[in-house]
Symmetry: C2
Subunit: 122 residues, 2 copies
């Protein structure tokens, strides 16, 4: 099991709850919110958030907030931006975007607006 080792590599015990949680994010093609995950969640809400925090602190997960008050989580990979559509609420990873700010240290970029589809339909 790849995921189990990945967790243990960060000095975190690979409990059933934690493995199943990280499995969800490994299979996902895009960032997920608690609302997205809830239906298939096997653990309690408190345990969910405790483990999410644990993963984030360990550098296994990333989180960011959309403009409609939802918090999204995804596997931490290479740094990249996210686009969130105001109309259809879709979340997209934006890879080819290079932004630097002198003296600032950028960790996350969220762009809000209209996605391709919703821009066309205007």
């Amino acid at each position: 099991m790849d995921i189990k080792k990945k967790i243990e590599k960060h000095n975190i015990k690979a409990t059933i709850a934690r493995v199943s949680l990280l499995e969800i994010f490994s299979q996902a093609q895009k960032p997920l919110s608690y609302e997205d995950i809830k239906p298939e969640l096997k653990m309690d809400k408190a345990t969910f958030y405790r483990n999410i925090s644990l993963f984030i602190d360990a550098g296994l997960l990333n989180s960011f907030e959309s403009n409609d008050k939802k918090r999204y989580f995804e596997l931490k990979s290479h740094p990249h931006a996210h686009f969130i559509c105001r109309v259809c609420n879709s979340v997209e990873c934006i890879d080819n975007l290079n932004i630097t700010l002198q003296e600032y240290q950028i960790e996350n970029i969220i762009i809000n607006g209209l996605c391709k589809q919703c821009t066309v339909r205007k």
Copy 2:
């Protein structure tokens, strides 16, 4: 009173609550959260949010969310990005930043990371 006319120009009745609310944002130098405003708020929470929504729909206010689950509001002026520091939670307006995404329509950009001060202290 400039503010009263500004509100009426958008076909919104300039009630006392609304004028006082927009006055707060006019005097502010940076985006404000509900938590920031609450102490000096004269109106009920529900009225506050109803009027905020009204202003946003009318294009008088902008809103965006930080990564620490706070929603910020500010007077809508020229389009610009915002930087939110993970450490000191400061919010800064970033003016000289030009980002375009083909086929997307950008309305808001939020950058998370470490601000100048917090970058130095590392």
